[in-house]
Amino acid sequence: MANRSKITIIQAINEAIAQAMAADDKILVLGEDVADREGGGVVGVTRGLSTRFGDDRVRSTPIAEQAIMGAAIGAAINGYKPVAEIMLMNFTTVAMDMIVNHAAKLRYMSGGQTTVPIVIRMMTGAGIASGGQHSDFLEAWFAHTAGIKVVAPTNAADAKGLMLSAIADPDPVMFIECSRAYGNSCEVPEVGEPIPIGKASVVQEGTDVTIVSYSEIFQRAIAAAKELEKDGVSVELIDLRTIAPWDRETVIASVRKTGRAVIAHEAVRQFGVGAEIAATLQEDLWGELKAPVKRLGAPYTSVPFSQGLEPLFIVSVQQIVEAARATIGTAAAPVAMGIN
């Protein structure tokens, strides 16, 4: 079908899982309401899979996230490749032991004997009035945890390619889906090609400032770049796509060129992913930066429910524009002299 129309992220992930399941019967799907009898997932990401691949391979579970993760881990150790859904990222809090103490560590602790090739799919994100317990981006926790990869696509094409790689990956991968972005659509190859985990995408080249982002906030970064272009600012746009391991080479090469960087994500700014990137850049590009690295993220609060407040919680296009302008407006200050 050369001419099929654009598809959404929901459909793209669905197609990726289906493609992988058709190619490898070791791939399983489990989670709350994922089978078609239960509607094929609360937003339909797994719709049709149980009908096509059978109830044995696609199983709805009780509401018991430790049991879900345990089932996925055990099956993975014994040769299967489960794609487990933890409906919302906040619900990882009831399964952290399984994810952190087990999935992430078993390869290491067993000296490489047992491996846990699982994908943990979750949706999250503020902006849809879900309140404080259903909206958090918690990727920094998992990025800080050795042994687990973290992926967060922003568009349907990447979602498809990254899901294929996540499923093929021999290690556990957290796959973060932003609810706000689910409906975004773009052209996506019908037969997906894996997009490597750990590779960022330079979506637009530029010379004045590098904006690094991921997940739905990257869409805002694109809008910000358009806005900045009007002022004649040339923006290099990097969609990180993978948070852990993040693509240091690509980001560093870009910032080496532009001399300026803004990092934007939805999670709380303090102790967030932006901190690691900024800390790395100031060290690896010592003397090459034209301005301090700017970080944008949510304020240090829970996600408020009220529509009067929730939009203020999420990094805005305007904030990204202003941060980028600030890096450019910053007068280049001489480095104080060292003592030797």
Partner: protein, 334 residues
């Protein structure tokens, strides 16, 4: 229907005034739900709305046994529990609308309503989490030497998660004045009870904790009242927790907008035929506890209150931007 450890034998009967009181709460919940669905459908309010329609009887009959200073922990599907416990309509609606006049200044929203004055102390969006915290509240009452009790409401699906198990065990070992009320509406989101739950009656799980457990018809106000009365009395007397399973049905899918395709049509139709609100209404009239006119008057009054609360909510202000970073800590942060 009682399980091994008997419950339901020392139960009190709801007298006429109590029955009328229960009906008033049920009608309030039912009418409030209709209003909520209408407002959400109209787009005037953006909120995730979990209709409690069909489950009116349970908290109404439970609350008829409670004092204002008794406490409840409820869940996202909780407006019925809150209203039955006495959360005022105005602040409830304003919170659902995210307004600064709401119980939580709009910051919690419908899934996190808290109104300490009426005892609605916690609303959680995490399945299973009402129970561990209910224990702590009850522990405080016990330490205080008071006779206050705590109700932990939760669903059938929640009875399969770890927090349920940990909580019931601790409550029993510590003999806490807490009553675990499972509103078994036969579905957890889109999953039928049997597909996820390895026991035919959740009340049997009380055996695991040497706790009285009872299954009651959640559409029968007198049965729920009696079971709750016994459990509340036991809790007040320092005799520890009870597990009550009230079997009911969820009339409008999991969340507003849900397409219901996963539900058994016949099962649903049969359940809706047993709609507890009109049935109890008819019974009150048939038994001469109230006249048609009396009930109509109560209902009309409630309708006015609800309409006024909706207006209050819609016309209230959003919280000011400074509220975004308030209430993180007691000492406000910059």
């Amino acid at each position: 229907m009682a399980t091994q450890i008997k419950a339901g034998t020392n139960a009190a009967t709801a007298d006429a005034a109590t029955q009328l009181d229960i009906y008033r709460r049920m009608s309030l919940i039912q009418q409030n739900d209709e209003a909520a669905r209408k407002v959400v459908r109209s787009g005037r309010l953006m909120m995730p709305y979990y209709s409690p329609r069909g489950q009116e009887c349970i908290p109404s009959a439970v609350s008829a046994n409670l004092n204002d200073d008794d406490q409840i922990c409820t869940i996202y599907r909780g407006t019925h529990d809150m209203l039955a416990k006495g959360v005022p309509l105005d602040v409830l609606w304003a919170e659902m609308a995210g307004k600064v006049t709401g119980t939580c200044k709009g910051k919690g929203g419908p899934m996190h309503i808290t109104h300490p004055a009426s005892g609605a102390i916690l609303t959680t969006g995490i399945v299973g989490s009402s129970m561990p915290i209910a224990n702590g509240l009850a522990w405080a009452h016990k330490l205080d030497g008071s006779r206050r009790v705590v109700i932990a409401y939760f669903g059938d699906g929640a009875s399969n998660i770890g927090a349920f198990h940990e909580s019931l065990n601790l409550a029993s070992v510590w003999k806490l004045p807490v009553i675990f009320v499972c509103q078994n509406n036969r579905y957890a989101e889109h999953t039928k009870y049997e597909a996820a739950t390895a026991v035919d009656q959740i009340s049997k799980r009380a055996i695991s904790y040497t706790m009285p457990g009872v299954t009651v018809d959640g559409n029968d106000p007198l049965a729920v009242y009696a079971a709750a009365n016994e459990a509340v009395t036991r809790a007040r007397d320092g005799e520890g927790p009870t597990l009550i399973e009230a079997v009911t049905f969820r009339f409008f899918g999991h969340v507003f907008g849900d397409d219901d395709a996963y539900m058994d049509k016949a099962e649903k139709a049969a359940a809706m035929d047993k709609d507890p609100v009109p049935l109890f209404r008819a019974k009150l009239i048939a038994e001469g506890i109230a006249t048609e006119e009396q009930l109509a008057e109560i209902e009309a009054k409630l309708a006015v209150d609800i309409e006024s609360a909706v207006q209050f909510a819609l016309s209230s202000d959003m919280p000011p931007p400074e509220e975004l970073t308030r209430d993180v800590f007691a000492e406000e942060i910059a």
